[in-house]
């Protein structure tokens, strides 16, 4: 469904992604794990045309999207939930969700069907429903993350790009959010690319995973196999070296 071939992305002089290739099949949850600065966020931003790649190819449903602008990519059905949530803090919860459907308003889609989708988001995240008129900046971290996901869903994406949804959240909240993420796939068939530092939680719900290190993909495997991989366990799952090598 989505195929990235050998992309190279730069921040000024910094070569952030080096010949990165990956693919997503329809209905898959794929996770991208790696340390800080490995280039996980850059992969998503290359896809969303926030930092367009210099070379390489990005194919979505068979046609290239590499030179499209950010709004065109959302229009085609790829929505990103950015790192650090980036909700519109001074706006209300409902306004944030409405803006998620901005392109649908532009296409003169009826208010009724957009309203229905807002209610659907409230159904997924009942805590947001209680706070629908509240200013988004006053929500808790977990609620802001829910709102950021809800806002992206309002565009009815085929592929959802999630950037570190667990960042800075309590374990229980992370669990809730990941539950919703797998529900999105099972109930709506949304394809998901999940970037995480919390590799354990991400691999638990993912089908496949890629491991990124200093701008390169160094491993690609089924999530269950990555969980068993000794090197991944040592580097990303926090298991002690001794425990693995010297038993």
């Amino acid at each position: 469904m989505l195929r990235i071939k050998n992309i190279n992305t730069y921040y000024g002089q910094v070569h952030a992604l080096k010949n990165v290739s990956l693919h997503l099949h329809a209905g898959e949850i794929v996770t991208l794990i790696g340390a800080n600065g490995a280039g996980k966020t850059t992969v998503l931003n290359s896809l969303s045309a926030i930092t367009p790649p210099k070379s390489g190819e990005i194919l979505f449903e068979g046609s290239t999207i590499k030179n499209l602008s950010a709004d065109r990519i959302v229009d085609l059905g790829i929505s990103q939930v950015p790192e650090g949530r980036q909700i519109f803090k001074p706006l209300s919860v409902e306004d944030n969700l409405e803006l998620g459907a901005y392109l649908r308003f532009r296409k003169r889609e009826g208010r009724a069907s957009i309203r229905k989708d807002i209610e659907h988001v409230f159904h997924l995240f009942p805590r947001l429903s209680e706070r629908r008129r509240q200013i988004a900046g006053t929500l808790s971290g977990g609620e802001q993350q829910m709102l950021a996901i809800g806002r992206a869903l309002m565009a009815k994406p085929k592929i959802l790009l999630l950037d570190e949804p667990s960042m800075g959240l309590a374990p229980l909240v992370v669990k809730d959010i990941f539950k919703v993420v797998s529900k999105l796939r099972s109930e709506q068939g949304t394809t998901i690319l999940l970037v995480e530092q919390n590799a354990k939680a991400a691999l638990a719900i993912a089908d496949r995973g890629y491991v990124l290190e200093t701008g390169k993909v160094i491993l690609e495997e089924k999530a269950s196999e990555l969980l068993e991989n000794k090197e991944v366990q040592r580097a990303y799952l926090g298991k002690d070296k001794k425990e693995i090598w010297e038993r």
């Binding site: 602008s69 950010a70 959302v74 650090g84 980036q86 803090k89 706006l91 803006l99 998620g100 901005y102």
Partner: protein
């Protein structure tokens, strides 16, 4: 170049008009001398307040233009004053030179000034997308000199008057004299502020513009074309500026360089309001207008412009986020 001297002349002419009109009205009241003096003083205050509100309303409109562009692009558009000038000069041109009826002249002038704003954004701002805000600000200064130069070549250096929208017969209000033009200024300003509010708070494209100002990155991730919103903000600001220029012109006169001083005053209003594109800047403009008018009336009209700039400096030194903006509290 003698910056803004013509604008200042315009203002003092305007004050003179008031003083003489007021002289007439008080002389009509033949009361005892002591009472006349005290009446005179309170009437004077009312008069100053009224004229302060009307210049303040103009400053508010100009300031809103600054704030809208600042919020969508992060730059201060120092060409804003030129749209104010264009509003006045174009109306003068269509109405007096071309002899087109008032209403049609107004519409035409707003359209042309707005188109100028849009072209300015397209030619001078958009091609430099990766420029720093500072170089963009300098470009707006260049743009303002350019537009002013063109205006001088087309219309010359003379100061022009345009007739009041509906006669010069003064009205009397709480002992003060008020011209019908003041009512036009108040009415149109209120109308624009209301439309502005409705647009930014209730329409999806207004909300999208606010979204751009809060977080451009996130705005483009929900599919908002940020460049389009920047263009909109230039269109809205230049339209608002030109309206300010044309409703003020019958009182203050207009010439090719009124934009310099009016632009700075509008900037001052926006700074007092903390660059809010809402009520903060409107109050900022009114405060500035009233203080100027009281200062000119009670101290000396020579201090009129100084007052605005003293306020500007004080705000920038003491409370750069503006008087009305609360400290932002954020949760992450």
């Amino acid at each position: 170049m003698d910056i803004g001297s013509l604008a200042a002349n315009g203002f003092s002419w305007y004050m003179m008009q008031h003083q003489s009109a007021q002289g007439d009205s008080t002389s009509a009241l033949t009361l005892s001398s002591v009472k006349a003096v005290s009446m005179n003083f309170s009437h004077q205050i009312v008069q100053y307040l009224l004229s302060g509100f009307s210049t303040g309303a103009i400053y508010s409109l100009i300031g809103l233009g600054f704030a809208i562009i600042y919020n969508s692009t992060g730059i201060i558009n120092f060409a804003q004053g030129e749209f104010v000038m264009l509003g006045g000069m174009l109306t003068y041109f269509f109405l007096t030179v071309a002899g087109i009826p008032l209403f049609a002249s107004i519409i035409l002038s707003v359209i042309i000034a707005t188109a100028t704003g849009v072209i300015f954004e397209r030619l001078a701002i958009r091609p430099l997308r990766n420029a720093t805000p500072l170089s963009l600000v300098i470009i707006t200064i260049g743009g303002s000199i350019f537009i002013r130069g063109i205006a001088m070549l087309v219309w010359g250096k003379d100061t022009h008057a345009i007739p009041m929208f509906s006669g010069t017969e003064p009205l009397f209000l709480a002992g003060a004299t008020i011209l019908p033009q003041h009512l036009w200024i108040f009415g149109i300003t209120i109308l624009i502020i209301v439309i502005n509010k409705l647009y930014f708070y209730y329409s999806i494209s207004g909300k999208a513009m606010r979204a751009c100002s809060y977080n451009r990155n996130a705005a483009s991730l929900v599919g908002i074309d940020v460049r389009r919103m920047v263009l909109f903000s230039f269109a809205i600001s230049s339209a608002m500026g030109s309206v300010a220029g044309m409703i003020a012109a019958p009182l203050t006169m207009t010439s090719y360089d009124v934009g310099v001083m009016l632009g700075l005053k509008g900037f001052c209003a926006a700074i007092i309001g903390g660059m809010s594109s809402g009520i903060g800047t409107v109050l900022g403009g009114l405060i500035l207008g009233v203080l100027e008018s009281l200062g000119a009336g009670l101290l000396s009209s020579g201090y009129k412009d100084a007052i605005a700039f003293i306020i500007l400096l004080l705000i920038l030194f003491i409370r750069p986020r503006g008087i009305f903006r609360k400290a932002e509290t954020e949760r992450v």
